[in-house]
């Protein structure tokens, strides 16, 4: 069993335990992490850049403008909206 699969199984198992003990927020976060691992490397690479940004400086309004702008552009592509 490879390490990625083992990690996913472990995360989901701990999420189940968290849910059973009533810690729903932790359970949801762990399931998000497990699913994100499965979905792929592109997202992970993007978030690595975000991590670097947060480590080196404070957030600015321009950072928020940038991410919201990218979301808008990609939403138009996703939903087939005219420019």
């Amino acid at each position: 069993m490879n390490s990625v699969l083992l990690t996913i199984i472990t995360l989901r198992s701990i999420a189940t335990i968290a849910q059973v003990t009533g810690d729903i927020k932790t359970a949801n976060m762990l399931r998000l992490l497990a699913d994100s691992i499965e979905v792929g490397a592109a997202t992970d690479e993007h978030l690595a850049l975000v991590a670097e940004k947060l480590k080196t400086r404070d957030l600015t309004e321009a950072d928020w403008d940038d991410v919201l702008s990218r979301i808008e552009v990609d939403r138009r592509r996703l939903h087939g909206m005219e420019e």
Partner: protein, 125 residues
């Protein structure tokens, strides 16, 4: 359970998904956490848009992705009348939003973002 979350983030790092782990670990404040969540959502919207634009993607898969994304968008961005995580976090930075409301929005967004991730996973498999 917080220490368990920290352990799991370490586990995610060990599996090779260091970027995701690093981003969430780097967030020191609630608005930084909101920013990471928003960027995570942005990356998934980009990935979904690429999938939808592929000529081999079935119409049903496109519909699934669009519906899942819309459900995230309403709590992640929202509207001025019903602000989501991103709009609340920006207002919080300026001292104009209740951190409890922002936390509630984050909690809801995590669930819907996970649904979105599962929708993408279902399409790419």
């Amino acid at each position: 359970m917080k220490y368990i979350l920290v352990l799991c983030l370490a586990l995610v790092g060990a599996s090779g998904c260091t970027g995701t782990r690093a981003a969430y670990s780097s967030a020191d404040t609630i608005d930084e956490y909101a920013f990471v969540l928003t960027e995570h959502y942005a990356a998934l919207v980009n990935q979904s848009a690429n999938i939808v634009e592929s000529p081999t993607t079935p119409e049903l898969s496109k519909r699934v992705l669009r519906q899942a994304e819309s459900r995230v968008n309403e709590v992640m961005v929202g509207t001025p009348e019903a602000p989501g995580v991103a709009l609340l976090a920006r207002a919080y930075r300026k001292g104009g939003a209740d951190p409890t409301k922002l936390q509630e929005a984050i909690d809801t967004a995590i669930v819907r973002l996970a649904d979105f991730v599962r929708a993408i996973r279902g399409v790419v498999k």
